[in-house]
Structures are given as structure tokens and as C-alpha cells.
């Protein structure tokens, strides 16, 4: 797992994907920070975290698009799958590499915290609550992105499908509201990402939501392993 993790971390920066992701995250979070937080004279960064949901939704598929699709296309997966490592090590190595990059990108909020601290009071509990909420959301989204990357050989297709799927997940709340059957509406609602995430930015640290995000992360990593395993039996 370590070897794959280190290779992916290097690959993020040799291919430029890492820079694009970090720059994209810094640009939009900076924009929301300066306009929504500094501009409105608040010391609470929650509105910025709320807005970042949509940005993360488009950035994460860029981060994950190549992870497995390129391996298949360039036949480098033959090297990985015939090496004495398990499928889960391969998948998790890639997963944690992407997650690490996400954490690095997200940690820019601590620079914003310093800026706020210079002219006011930072509410650390809110900040950390938001920070971890976004981390858990990222953990779930990256697992979904990685799964989609395992399904195709084309990194562009992987990115576009990833964005589409994550966007549908975002829309789930509004879709759920229009479902007339109550049972169905509640089921869809309970799977929705946005409302769960937004709760955190409103100051509610809901443990069940954390469990939900982590379960999604676990489940999709498991699916990815299954896809790789299934391909060998094809």
C-alpha cells in the first residue's frame, strides 16, 4: 500500500492534477472567504464551508479521474495486479493518496483562521466541526470518484461521470422533496448528502451523518475492489 500511495502522491504533482486541485480549492475557498466571511465582517467561516460543497463536487472527480482509468488504459494495471499485493492495498493506496491531497487542500482554512485571529476571535469548535465535516464529505466523494475511475479506461469520461453522479447526489434533497410517496421520500432524504453536510455548517455535529459519510467511503472502496476482482474473472 505504501508504494502505491507514494507513487500516486508523486504522480499528482508530475501530472499537474495535484496543482489544479490545490489551486482550484484555494481559489474558490479564498473567494468565498474574502467575500462571504471577511467582506461581511464575520469571524465564522461556516458560509464558506457551505459554498464549498458545490466546488468540492466538481474538484474531486478531477482528483480521482486518472487513478484507475489510466492504469487500465496504459496496461500498467498488469504490473500492479501481478505484483504480490492484495487488491485492497492497491485501492486503499490510491484512495489515501487522494484523501491526503484533499486534506492538504482543505487545510488552507487554517491560514484563513490566522487571518481572522489577527482582527478578531476564531471560534475553534465551529471551525474544527466544519473542517472535519468537509473531510468526511471528501472521504465519501473520493471513494465514489475512485469507484467511477475503476469503471472506465477514459479519464475524461471518468471525470464527467463523476461530476454528474456527485451532482445528482447534491440534487437528491430537492428531488426527494418532490416525491409524493412519504416512505420513498424519507428513504431518498436519508441518503441525501447536502442536507447532512449543511447541518454541520449550521453548528450541529451529527454523529449519524459522520457514520453515513464514512460508510459510503467504505462501501465504495469495497465496490472498487470488487470491480478489479470481477475484471479478472471476465
Amino acid at each position: 500500500m505504501g508504494a502505491i500511495y507514494r507513487r500516486e502522491m508523486n504522480a499528482f504533482f508530475t501530472s499537474g492534477v495535484g496543482y489544479v486541485f490545490l489551486a482550484g480549492f484555494a481559489l474558490f475557498s479564498g473567494l468565498f472567504f474574502s467575500v462571504g466571511v471577511i467582506g461581511s465582517g464575520m469571524s465564522d467561516m461556516s458560509p464558506m464551508f457551505g459554498s464549498m460543497f458545490l466546488i468540492v463536487l466538481f474538484l474531486i472527480p478531477i482528483l480521482t479521474m486518472k487513478l484507475l482509468s489510466e492504469e487500465k488504459k496504459n496496461r500498467t494495471d498488469q504490473g500492479l495486479l501481478t505484483a504480490p499485493v492484495g487488491l485492497s492495498s492497491i485501492v486503499l493506496g490510491k484512495y489515501f493518496a487522494a484523501l491526503t491531497l484533499f486534506v492538504i487542500a482543505e487545510s488552507i482554512v487554517f491560514i484563513y483562521a490566522v487571518i481572522i485571529a489577527l482582527c478578531g476571535q476564531v471560534v475553534w469548535s465551529t471551525l474544527l466541526g466544519n473542517y472535519f465535516a468537509m473531510l468526511f464529505l471528501g472521504a465519501a466523494f473520493i471513494a465514489i470518484g475512485l469507484f467511477i475511475s475503476s469503471l472506465t479506461e477514459n479519464q475524461m469520461a471518468s471525470a464527467v461521470i463523476g461530476m454528474f453522479v456527485l451532482f445528482v447526489l447534491y440534487l437528491m434533497d430537492s428531488l426527494a422533496a418532490s416525491i409524493p410517496v412519504e416512505f420513498l421520500r424519507n428513504s431518498v432524504m436519508s441518503l441525501a448528502f447536502y442536507s447532512k453536510y449543511i447541518e454541520f455548517t449550521q453548528g450541529i455535529f451529527n454523529l449519524s451523518s459522520v457514520v453515513y459519510f464514512l460508510s459510503v467511503a467504505f462501501l465504495f472502496n469495497f465496490f472498487t475492489v470488487r470491480v478489479l476482482d470481477k475484471r479478472r474473472w471476465g
Binding site: A3, A11, G79, L80, P84
Partner: protein, 348 residues
């Protein structure tokens, strides 16, 4: 070292590999020979655990590849048809990655240096793989397979796309490796297999068509009943040709006589095919003595590996003869192209 039992790989209705069994002993260099699409790569991919078999068993060093894949794979170095190279890495970065991936315990610096020296890539270690030529990429692929010194090396068409010098280098290297490793290599290039391998398995349409050394396979197929004889007649004219042909045909046991080209002035070669297991050489000799002809040459038609391959993969000897006549047709066609053909011009 490697034991394969009743291996089957099915893709839908099609059996890509159909009930293949063989064993490879330690230190053997085994050549997998077959036309494109015969199931060579599929078999190799199953041997290395890249794909799973539909049924059957593969034991690498006594370890089942499906039951205990990680242990089995640690015994194998694999160079697939397309080397699994990350083109945006340097050679050194890539080899270090593979070293870590294979959880190699040997001294990193010394081991990688040894491999790079062996594969002659020491001077390109800092370069990006993307910028290497095909030959160097192939060598990096081979180097990657050698990491961790696996007892079994599986090389899928290792010389494809290389220039003749590189082919010779890689072949020499494989022979060298064969001293300490069990090697399976596949190819559809016959001389290569013949030059490198101790033993050959010919695969055709997913089944083992022949298994043995080149000579063993040849001996099974050739008989002493086909030969080419150059006979000098008395008159040195075309009349000789007719007379000798007829005389040969009248000998007992001869099925087929064909007068070939005029090799020396007024002297012809005769291709003879006798009934199987009938040695007609003495009878021919006696005939010539009686008629006062001289035998200037007698050559049994040894089958080349190419003939064997064609015979096996196409199912019968007719193909070998067809190939020979095809070559003649090609030659005729070539001449027509050069000298022009009235008919074709007329059609236009």
C-alpha cells in the same frame, strides 16, 4: 516449478484456452509458440494471476495462484506484452516503486544497480520513461520483472518491436537468466524460440498441439520418406528429366515424384515422396546404378521449425506444400508486376 493442470479460460461461449496441462522444471527455458490469438497471452496472464482461469489449477513453486495469490505472485517476475511502465516516471523512480511494491528485502542500491547493469539501462536511470526508445522501454520492463530475483520469469513476446541488434541482446540476456531462473517466454517468431528455448510448447486454438524439444517435435513429424535427389542423366537434356521421372515413379512405394528446377546444366532435382516408413533410398541407388545415372546429391527433407509450426497449426502437411507453392505464386505475381500483365491492362 510450474505446474498447470487442465487450464480452461472461457470468454462467453468461446474457449480461449481449452484444457492446457504442462509442467516446467526448475531452470528450464520454455518457449510458448503459437499464431496470434492462439491463447499464449491468455495463458500467461493466468499464470501470473492477472486474470483468473475458468477452471483448472496453476501451481507456482507448489503454491496455488488462486488460493494463495500473494505468495505465488512473489515467485514470479512478469513482463507482459506491453510493459507496464508509468511513462511520467524516471527509470529510477519506477524501479524503486516496483522494488517497494514487490516488498523486496534485498539491498536496494546494490540490487537495482545489478539489475540495471544486467539490462544495460544504467545510463538512462535518470531519464523519463516517456522519452525512452521502444528497446529501452522493453529493457526497463524486463528489469522490473527481475526485481526481487523471482525464481520464475514469464516473458510475453519480449523481443517484439525491437531492431535486430536489440533482439540479439535480449535473447542473450534471456539465455543468461535461464541459468538461474525458470523462464517461460512466448513468441510467434520461430528462430527466436529455437535459439533460446530448451523446450517448446506449441499452442494452437487454445490447446497444446506439441510439447518437446525442437528436435523431438521435428522427429515426431518428419519421416524418412521425403527427399530431394539430384540425378545426372546420360544425355544432359530435357529428355533425361522425363525418363528419370518415369523410372522413379515405377519404383515400388513411391507416391509422388516431381522434377524440380534445372540446378546444373541438363541436371535436375527430383522431389520424392514415398509411402510412410518405406525407405526408398537403396532402391533409387540401385536404379541409378543400373541405368548408369549419377546421384549428385540426396537430401532428406528435414522439416524446419517453421514447417512444423505450419503443419501443426494448420492441421496437415498440405499447408506446408501450399506455403511452398504460395511462395512460387508470389514470385510469379512479383514478376507479373515487374513485367506487366496484358490481361489486367485489358480489363481497365
Amino acid at each position: 516449478m510450474i505446474e498447470v493442470r487442465n487450464l480452461v479460460k472461457r470468454y462467453g461461449d468461446k474457449k480461449a484456452v481449452n484444457n492446457i496441462s504442462f509442467t516446467v522444471e526448475k531452470g528450464e527455458i520454455l518457449g510458448f509458440l503459437g499464431p496470434n490469438g492462439a491463447g499464449k497471452s491468455t495463458t500467461m496472464n493466468m499464470l501470473t494471476g492477472y486474470i483468473s482461469s475458468t477452471s483448472g489449477q496453476i501451481l507456482i513453486n507448489g503454491v496455488d495462484i488462486l488460493e494463495n495469490p500473494i505468495e505465488a505472485k512473489s515467485n514470479i517476475g512478469y513482463l507482459p506484452e506491453i510493459p507496464p511502465l508509468y511513462v511520467d516516471m524516471t527509470v529510477d523512480g519506477y524501479l524503486n516503486f516496483m522494488y517497494d511494491l514487490k516488498k523486496c528485502k534485498l539491498s536496494r542500491k546494490a540490487h537495482l544497480k545489478e539489475i540495471c547493469d544486467l539490462c544495460k539501462i544504467s545510463h538512462v536511470r535518470e531519464r523519463l520513461i516517456r522519452n525512452l526508445s521502444k528497446g529501452y522501454k522493453q529493457r526497463v520492463g524486463l528489469a522490473q520483472a527481475l526485481i526481487n530475483n523471482p525464481p520464475v520469469l514469464i516473458l510475453d513476446e519480449p523481443t517484439v518491436g525491437l531492431d535486430p541488434n536489440q533482439i540479439i541482446e535480449i535473447r542473450t540476456l534471456i539465455k543468461k537468466l535461464g541459468k538461474n531462473h525458470t523462464v517461460i517466454l512466448s513468441s510467434h517468431i520461430l528462430p527466436e524460440i529455437q535459439a533460446v528455448c530448451d523446450r517448446i510448447i506449441i499452442i494452437n486454438k487454445g490447446v497444446v498441439a506439441a510439447d518437446g524439444t525442437a528436435n523431438e517435435i521435428a522427429n515426431k513429424l518428419t519421416n524418412e520418406h521425403k527427399m530431394t535427389i539430384r540425378i545426372e542423366g546420360t544425355s544432359h537434356t530435357a529428355a533425361d528429366k522425363q525418363e528419370i521421372t518415369n523410372a522413379l515413379k515405377s519404383l515400388g512405394g513411391i507416391k509422388y515424384v516431381r522434377a524440380d528446377m534445372e540446378r546444373e546444366k541438363g541436371i535436375y532435382d527430383y522431389d520424392i515422396e514415398a509411402d510412410e516408413k518405406t525407405d526408398v533410398r537403396r532402391a533409387v541407388n540401385a536404379l541409378c546404378r543400373e541405368k548408369g545415372w549419377n546421384i549428385l546429391m540426396l537430401q532428406l527433407s528435414d522439416m524446419t521449425l517453421e514447417d512444423i509450426f505450419l503443419k501443426i497449426t494448420s492441421g496437415d502437411i498440405a499447408a506446408v506444400q501450399e506455403r511452398i507453392s504460395d511462395e512460387a505464386k508470389d514470385a510469379v505475381a512479383g514478376m507479373e508486376m515487374i513485367f506487366g500483365d496484358d490481361k489486367e491492362e485489358g480489363e481497365e
